[in-house]
């Protein structure tokens, strides 16, 4: 067992997987000599050389497309896209090709590729560099979308993603790279598609993932001092979605708030709210609430950005209102 950052957990896992399977290689902008914009590939070029650590031109559609080709022939590319915003330039390759090839080739050839990419606002990077568009990928049959929130999950889920035979969008978060946590030695690959109850509680369920799982924990601490016991479900996998864990929790607590780091309308919270009403309608004592970003392109200005992002405070308020609405 070692305590390490989310960044270190990703880096060590990448290295382990490269040592384990010589078909695993990494590719992306600035990942070799520069060791990655967020230093996830630190030391890898030195250790594995340029055949397995490939710096690419600034051509996201190009290198994602090339990774698909490599994956079809049995390699296991782990592509880094500098931020999820730039994955939009590769949308056709991801959605029309990575996600479709297995089906359209009649199951003869899969695409065992991982796209690692961070999302996340709050870093003062402006509207085009601060988005959380994992929703686009979570919508697509043929893709898997993972979103770990702790170093241990980052490690076990990246391991699983690399060994999986399908294309996986692996969502990291800029605000999580420096967070620390324990990572057990010899961690097994995670089971893809399992949510987790990360904090048991009795009064209300908060559903979150990635950075918002931490915001939820902060909110739950505050709520505890008010005598509200919040249970947290960390989704961890957006596709496949573990509906069962969400529904079971809400059946126990009788009310729910979804916390998401992107826009509300048509968002992941909407999917969770629908899941809850389908699976736990008779157990609900109050309407499901959602806490999300203001529906604006994220401002570059620090105070404006903070005003637009969901916070522990706004979550606490929503949870209090929800619990009050139950009339308990």
């Amino acid at each position: 067992m070692a305590t390490m950052t989310y960044r270190q957990a990703l880096r060590d896992t990448l290295r382990d997987e490269m040592l384990r399977d010589e078909n695993v290689f990494v590719m992306g902008e600035e990942i070799g000599v520069f060791e990655g914009s967020y230093k996830i590939t630190e030391g890898l070029l030195k250790e594995f050389g340029p055949k397995r650590v490939r710096d690419t031109p600034i051509a996201e559609e190009g290198f994602v497309g090339a990774a698909i080709g490599a994956a079809m022939l049995g390699l296991r590319p782990v592509v880094e896209i500098m931020t999820i915003n730039f994955s939009l330039l590769a949308l056709d390759q991801i959605v029309n090709h990575a996600a479709k090839i297995y089906g359209m080739f009649g199951g003869q050839c899969s695409v065992p590729m991982v796209i690692r990419t961070p999302g996340g606002g709050g870093q003062q990077l402006g509207a085009t560099h601060s988005q959380n568009v994992e929703l686009f990928y979570s919508f697509i049959p043929g893709l898997k979308v993972l979103a770990p929130s702790t170093p241990a999950e980052a490690s076990s889920m990246l391991r699983a993603a690399i060994r999986d035979d399908d294309p996986v969008l692996f969502l990291e978060n800029l605000a999580l790279y420096n967070t620390r946590g324990e990572v057990p030695d010899d961690l097994e690959p995670a089971e893809i598609g399992r949510a987790a109850v990360t904090r048991p509680g009795t009064d209300v369920t908060i559903i979150a993932y990635s950075r918002m799982a931490h915001v939820a924990a902060e909110a739950a601490d505050k709520l505890a001092t008010d005598g509200i016991s919040a249970e947290i479900v960390d989704l961890r996998s957006l596709r496949p979605l573990d509906r069962e864990t969400v529904v079971e929790s809400v059946r126990r607590t009788g009310c729910a708030v979804v916390a998401e780091d992107d826009w509300l309308t048509y968002g992941i919270g909407a999917e969770i709210a629908a899941t809850i009403q389908e699976g736990a309608f008779d157990h609900l004592d109050a309407p499901v609430r959602r806490v999300a970003m203001a529906e604006v392109p994220l401002p570059y200005s620090k105070p404006l950005e903070l005003a637009a992002l969901p916070s522990a405070e706004s979550l606490v308020t929503a949870v209090r209102d929800t619990v009050r609405a139950t009339g308990r």
Partner: protein, 373 residues
């Protein structure tokens, strides 16, 4: 050199040393030389004006870097070393021409009459591009690499449709030439014979990626395959940049279609204030480019030709210093926007969802004021 076996086959042409086809009118030593195709005819006053712009934009840039280090701006992409490429090309523009910058074109902004305070405000996060793109014919900064090459192409087609005698110029870097958008802009503007100049500042680096990783041939030669001329110009030679850009713009305006200009220059500073170039490039490379400094070169020319004296240079330095300190003061005085400003520029027209959200948010904020009273 940092050795990297995955770069592909060895380059036919060494991208690091300027090959003979480089257009140059002023040597690094400030010696005026002839070129069979290009020339400039400038009065001493005009040349001194160019010198003034070079010095002032370098000073603005230095001030912005310092302000960023002191936490007053969020980030800044320095133009250090690229002054001649920017000032030279911008001086070739006519008022009606439209310039599409990426994010380093502070020198072009200066020549288009944009108050540098507006650039600083952008990176301080108090406005989103405080300048009016139509008033200055200088578009907004674009940070997603290469996208604006297509915007410029569309704009140029608009000029064509209007039958106007203007052109569009789009600025991008060597790294951007790898993007699909830039190549699509080449394809379409060539097929349409659009009045556009593609101005690529090849500053040798795309963050930590050297040019060899993006291209096997000199960038300007790519143009031929797309069906329009490509020219490589010494980007640190303001005369040559001015002459080459003027000709390209004239060609565009007179119905001869696009040109790709590769301004061969060097990013003397970091990629942005968050970058540390010593991690990936050699100090000796920087030292060799310092000998080709665009400002020193023009200064040497002015001195050699007795066009300017000590007094002139001192006056310019004093003026630049003044511009810098005024800018710093005005920057520090910029107020933070009100939180409700987030709702202001989402749609050009009213949107019901947004109005609802804005009202909720405003009353949420007001609830805090009530408590504090």
């Amino acid at each position: 050199m940092i050795v990297d076996a995955a770069r592909g086959a060895p380059l036919g042409t060494d991208a690091q040393s300027p090959p003979p086809e480089l257009v140059q009118l002023l040597t690094p030593e400030g010696e005026r030389v002839e070129h069979p195709e290009y020339d400039v005819n400038l009065t001493p006053e005009e040349i001194k004006g160019l010198y003034r712009d070079l010095v002032i934009v370098r000073r603005i840039d230095t001030e912005a870097v310092a302000l960023t280090r002191q936490g007053e701006l969020g980030i800044w992409a320095s133009l250090l070393g690229q002054e001649a490429a920017q000032i030279g090309s911008a001086h070739a523009l006519r008022t009606g021409d439209m310039a599409f910058p990426s994010y380093r074109e502070h020198g072009v902004a200066w020549c288009r009459g944009v108050d540098p305070l507006d650039l600083l405000g952008l990176f301080r996060g108090v406005n989103h591009a405080g300048w009016d793109p139509k008033a200055h014919n200088f578009h907004l900064y674009t940070i997603v690499i290469g996208s604006h090459a297509l915007h410029a192409t569309g704009y140029a087609m608009g000029i064509q449709r209007d039958g106007a005698e203007n052109a569009a110029i789009v600025y991008f870097g060597d790294g951007a030439t790898s993007q699909g958008d830039v190549n699509e802009a080449f394809v379409w503007s060539a097929a349409q014979n659009a009045p556009i100049v593609f101005f690529c500042q090849n500053n040798q680096w795309a963050i930590s990626e050297p040019l060899e990783r993006q291209s096997r041939i000199p960038l300007y030669r790519r143009a031929e395959g797309f069906g329009f001329p490509g020219v490589r110009v010494d980007g640190n030679d303001i005369f040559a940049v001015l002459a080459v850009t003027r000709k390209a713009l004239d060609n565009a305006r007179s119905g001869q279609g696009p040109t790709l200009i590769e301004a061969f220059t060097y990013r003397m500073g970091a990629h942005t204030t968050t970058d540390d170039p010593t991690r990936y490039r050699l100090q000796s490379e920087l030292e060799s480019w310092k000998l080709k400094d665009p400002i020193e070169r023009l200064k040497a020319y002015l001195v050699k030709n007795e066009m300017a004296d000590r007094e002139f240079f001192d006056a310019i330095d004093a003026e630049a210093k003044q511009v810098g300190s005024d800018l710093r003061r005005r920057c520090l005085e910029l107020p933070d926007p009100e939180p409700t400003a987030i709702w202001e520029n989402v749609y050009a027209t009213e949107h019901s969802l947004l109005a609802e959200e804005r009202d909720q948010f405003t009353s949420y904020l007001a609830s805090f004021e009530d408590v504090s009273r």
